[in-house]
C-alpha cells in the first residue's frame, strides 16, 4: 500500500512533505508525494495531508544546500515553481539519490547531472523551463504608472515565476513602489520603495480596477509604441519570427503588443 503525502503547492509545502515522507520510515518505495489539486486520487493508497511547516522546510533546504550544493538547490527550487503534476515526487526521488546513506559527498553534488535517471531528467527539464520563462518575464513585464506614482503590471505566466524575478526587479527599481499581478497563477508581487518585497497569494480581485493612470503615462505609451514600429526594417519584415520570439500569450499583456 502506497502512502501519498499531499502538500500545498509551495516550496515550503513540498519541502515539508519531503521531511514528513522521509521521517515516516515507510520506505522510499512505499511513499509518494503529490501537490494538492494536481492529480486525481489513487485507489489502494493512504492519503496524508501535509501542513506546510517553515522549520521543517528550512531544515530540508539547508540539508540540500550543504550536501548537494548550491547549483542543485537552485535547480530544485526552480523545478518546485513549475506547473507540473509530478514535480513533488520527482524532487523527492532526486533527493533520495543524493541524500541517502552511503552516497559520497562528491557524488551527491553531481546527482543533478545524472540525466539518465528519469526523475533527475524531469527535475532538470522543469527547472530549465521555469528558468526560461522567468528570464523572459524579466524583459516582458510592462509597468504603467498610476496617478499615485505606483508602477503596476499584469502578466499571466504558466509557472510560478514571481519569486524568481522578485530579486531582479527589487534590485533594479529600489526606489519604486511596484506591483506585478500574475493572473496566471493568481499571486501578486509587491515591492515597497523602502526595499521590502513579498508575494501576496490571493490578491483581491478588484485589484487593477478603478485605477487612474498618471498624467504622462499615455504619452509615454504612445512614444514607445511609435518606437517599436519605427525601429523595424521593412525590407526584413518577418512576422513569423516575431511571433516565435514573442508569442501572443506574452504580447497580450504588453504595451506595444496592443498596437499591431
Amino acid at each position: 500500500m502506497v502512502t501519498v503525502f499531499e502538500c500545498e503547492d509551495t516550496l515550503d509545502g513540498i519541502f515539508t512533505a519531503v521531511y514528513d515522507a522521509w521521517a515516516s520510515r515507510l520506505g522510499h518505495s512505499a511513499v509518494r508525494l503529490q501537490v494538492r489539486g494536481a492529480d486525481t486520487m489513487q485507489l489502494f493508497a493512504v492519503y496524508r495531508s501535509v501542513v506546510a511547516d517553515g522549520s521543517k522546510a528550512e531544515r530540508v533546504a539547508r540539508t540540500i544546500q550543504n550536501r548537494m550544493g548550491g547549483e542543485t538547490f537552485e535547480k530544485i527550487c526552480q523545478a518546485a515553481m513549475a506547473k507540473d503534476a509530478d514535480k513533488a515526487d520527482a524532487i523527492y526521488r532526486v533527493l533520495v539519490l543524493g541524500l541517502s546513506r552511503g552516497v559520497s559527498e562528491r557524488d551527491a553534488k553531481q546527482v543533478i547531472w545524472q540525466l539518465q535517471d528519469p526523475n533527475v531528467c524531469h527535475v532538470f527539464e522543469l527547472s530549465r523551463k521555469v528558468g526560461h520563462e522567468a528570464h523572459r518575464y524579466m524583459g516582458f513585464v510592462r509597468f504603467r504608472e498610476l496617478e499615485n506614482g505606483v508602477l503596476f503590471s499584469e502578466i499571466s505566466s504558466e509557472h510560478h515565476v514571481l519569486s524568481l524575478i522578485g530579486d531582479h526587479f527589487a534590485n533594479r527599481f529600489p526606489q519604486e513602489n511596484f506591483l506585478i499581478w500574475n493572473r496566471g497563477c493568481g499571486d501578486c508581487l509587491v515591492h515597497r520603495a523602502d526595499g521590502v518585497w513579498f508575494i501576496v497569494l490571493d490578491p483581491p480581485s478588484e485589484l487593477g480596477k478603478a485605477m487612474q493612470l498618471s498624467e504622462k503615462e499615455e504619452e509615454m505609451q504612445r512614444l514607445w509604441k511609435g518606437f517599436c514600429q519605427s525601429i523595424s526594417i521593412r525590407e526584413r519584415e518577418n512576422r513569423a519570427l516575431q511571433r516565435q520570439m514573442l508569442p501572443y500569450r506574452f504580447q497580450k499583456w504588453m504595451t506595444e503588443g496592443l498596437v499591431s
Partner: protein, 436 residues
C-alpha cells in the same frame, strides 16, 4: 538639409530611431552589475530582450541617433550628407527623459546611442559624452549603455566615454580598406582601427587596476563590438570571416555583427539587389561566427580560397562535417568535449551535459534526445555504446540527401539507391548564391 522647426518629441523619436535601425547591435550582454540601491537599474550578464519588432529582431535597448545630421557622405548610409531626408536632433535632456521613463516601465534594458557627425567628430563625441554623463550622474542611471565611437574622435574623449558606457563600438563598416575608400570617402581604415586599439589597451590597463583596487571605475566592462555590411561590396565569405576572426584575436572584440545590405539610397557604386537584402548569407555568417566563438573552429577550417563561400543549403557545421567524414562517427561515451562540439546537432550546452552525465552512468539515445541533442542531425555522426541509432552508411551523398530532406523525423530513407544530384559537384554554390 531639411530641419523642420518645432518638432515634437514624438517626431524626433520617430526620425532618430528610424535612422538608427540599420545598426544591428541591440545586445545588452556582458556586464553583471547589481544596482547600488541609490539610483535605478542593474545589468545581468546574459542580457535581456524586452521586445521583438516586426522584422523579428530583438529590442533590448532604446536605439537612437543623437542626431541624423551628418557631414560624412558614406554611399550606403541613409543619413549621408547628400541624401534628402528630414533631419532632427535630440537635446541631452530629451535623451535622458526617454531613457529614464522607458526604463522605469521596463520597456528597455538601457540606451544605445549613436549619432551622425554634427560639425566634426570631436564636437559630436563631446555631445554624446555630455549626454551619458548627465544620465549617469544626474539621473543615477545604472542600466546598460552602448555608445558608438565616431571615427576620428580624439583620444581623450574615447577614454572618457569608456568610463560612462558598458559597451562601445566602432563600426568597421566594410571588410576591406579598398571598399571603405570607395563607399565611405570620409572614413579610413586607420581612423577606425586606432580607437579600437585604444579601447583594447585601456581595457587591459583597467583590468590590472581592478585587480589592485576592486572599486576602481570600470572601463567598457562589456567590451567592444563592431559591425560589417554584407553584400554591398564584392568580398567573399572567406574574406569576411577571416576579418572577423582577426578582430576577435587581435582586438579582443566581444562581438562582430553582420548587417545584410539594405538598399536605402541610390548610388551607381552600390549593387542593385532585386531579391532584397542577402539575409540568408548574413544568417550563414552568424552561424559561422558562433562556430568561431563557442565551438573552437577556425575560419580556415570552414572556408578556403578554393571554397570561399558558404553553402546556401547547409549550415556551416554540417557542411564542415560532411567534408570531414573521416573524423566520424564519434563515440559520445568517450569523445572529449572539443570533439563533441564538432558534431552537428550537439551544442555547448548538450556537450557539457553529455560530459557530466556520462561520469554517472551509461547514455542512450533517448537520454541524448532529452539532453537537447538534435538527433535528426547528430544521428549520422555519432555512436552510443558503440552502436549507431540505425544502421547508416557513412556516405556523403546519402547523409547530404537526408540532411536536406529534413522535416521527416523518422528513419532516414534508405531506399533511394541511385545517385542523386550533388549540390557540391553539379551546382556550384557560388552560382546558386548568385541565382538567389
Amino acid at each position: 538639409m531639411r530641419i523642420a522647426a518645432g518638432q515634437s518629441l514624438y517626431e524626433k523619436l520617430n526620425i532618430l530611431s528610424d535612422a538608427a535601425k540599420y545598426d544591428v547591435a541591440c545586445t545588452s550582454s556582458g556586464t553583471d552589475r547589481r544596482g547600488s540601491g541609490q539610483g535605478i537599474g542593474n545589468c545581468i550578464a546574459p542580457g535581456i530582450c524586452h521586445s521583438f519588432s516586426a522584422d523579428g529582431r530583438c529590442i533590448s535597448l532604446l536605439k537612437i541617433l543623437f542626431t541624423n545630421e551628418c557631414v560624412f557622405d558614406c554611399k550606403y548610409c541613409i543619413n549621408r550628407a547628400s541624401n534628402d531626408v528630414e533631419r532632427a536632433a535630440f537635446t541631452p535632456d530629451e535623451v535622458c527623459t526617454l531613457t529614464m521613463e522607458f526604463y522605469r516601465r521596463n520597456y528597455i534594458e538601457g540606451l544605445f546611442l549613436s549619432s551622425g557627425v554634427l560639425r566634426n567628430p570631436a564636437y559630436t563625441m563631446e555631445l554624446l559624452t555630455a549626454t551619458l554623463y548627465k544620465l549617469r550622474t544626474e539621473h543615477h542611471f545604472e542600466g546598460y549603455i552602448h555608445v558608438k565611437v565616431i571615427p576620428g574622435a580624439p583620444q581623450e574623449l574615447v577614454s572618457r566615454i569608456g568610463f560612462l558606457a558598458d559597451r562601445v563600438s566602432i563600426n568597421l563598416e566594410l571588410p576591406t580598406a579598398e571598399s571603405l575608400r570607395l563607399l565611405a570617402p570620409h572614413k579610413t581604415r586607420r581612423r577606425i582601427l586606432s580607437p579600437m586599439r585604444q579601447v583594447q589597451t585601456l581595457r587591459s590597463e583597467n583590468k590590472q587596476e581592478l585587480v589592485q583596487y576592486r572599486s576602481a571605475p570600470r572601463f567598457v566592462p562589456a567590451g567592444q563590438s563592431t559591425q560589417m555590411i554584407i553584400g554591398a561590396t564584392p568580398e567573399n565569405d572567406y574574406q569576411i570571416l577571416s576579418v572577423a576572426e582577426s578582430l576577435y584575436q587581435k582586438f579582443e572584440l566581444k562581438r562582430v555583427f553582420y548587417s545584410a545590405f539594405v538598399q536605402v539610397t541610390e548610388d551607381p557604386l552600390l549593387p542593385a539587389l532585386p531579391g532584397g537584402p542577402p539575409l540568408l548569407r548574413e544568417h550563414r555568417l552568424y552561424q559561422a561566427d558562433w562556430l568561431l566563438r563557442f565551438y573552437q573552429f577556425q575560419a580556415d577550417e570552414l572556408l578556403s580560397e578554393q571554397h570561399p563561400n558558404f553553402n546556401v543549403f547547409l549550415d556551416p557545421k554540417c557542411d564542415w562535417a560532411l567534408s570531414h567524414l573521416e573524423q566520424f562517427p564519434v563515440e559520445v561515451g568517450s569523445a572529449d568535449y572539443r570533439t563533441l562540439l564538432r558534431v552537428p546537432g550537439i551544442g555547448p550546452r548538450s556537450a557539457q551535459r553529455i560530459v557530466r552525465a556520462r561520469r554517472m552512468g551509461r547514455l542512450d539515445y533517448e537520454t541524448l534526445r532529452k539532453m537537447g541533442v538534435v538527433l535528426k542531425r547528430a544521428v549520422y555522426f555519432i555512436t552510443c555504446n558503440g552502436r549507431q541509432m540505425y544502421p547508416l552508411r557513412m556516405d556523403e551523398d546519402f547523409i547530404l540527401r537526408n540532411l536536406l530532406g529534413s522535416g521527416d523525423h523518422g528513419r532516414p530513407a534508405e531506399t533511394v539507391t541511385y545517385r542523386q544530384l550533388s549540390l557540391f559537384d553539379d551546382l556550384q554554390p557560388e552560382r546558386v548564391l548568385q541565382a538567389l
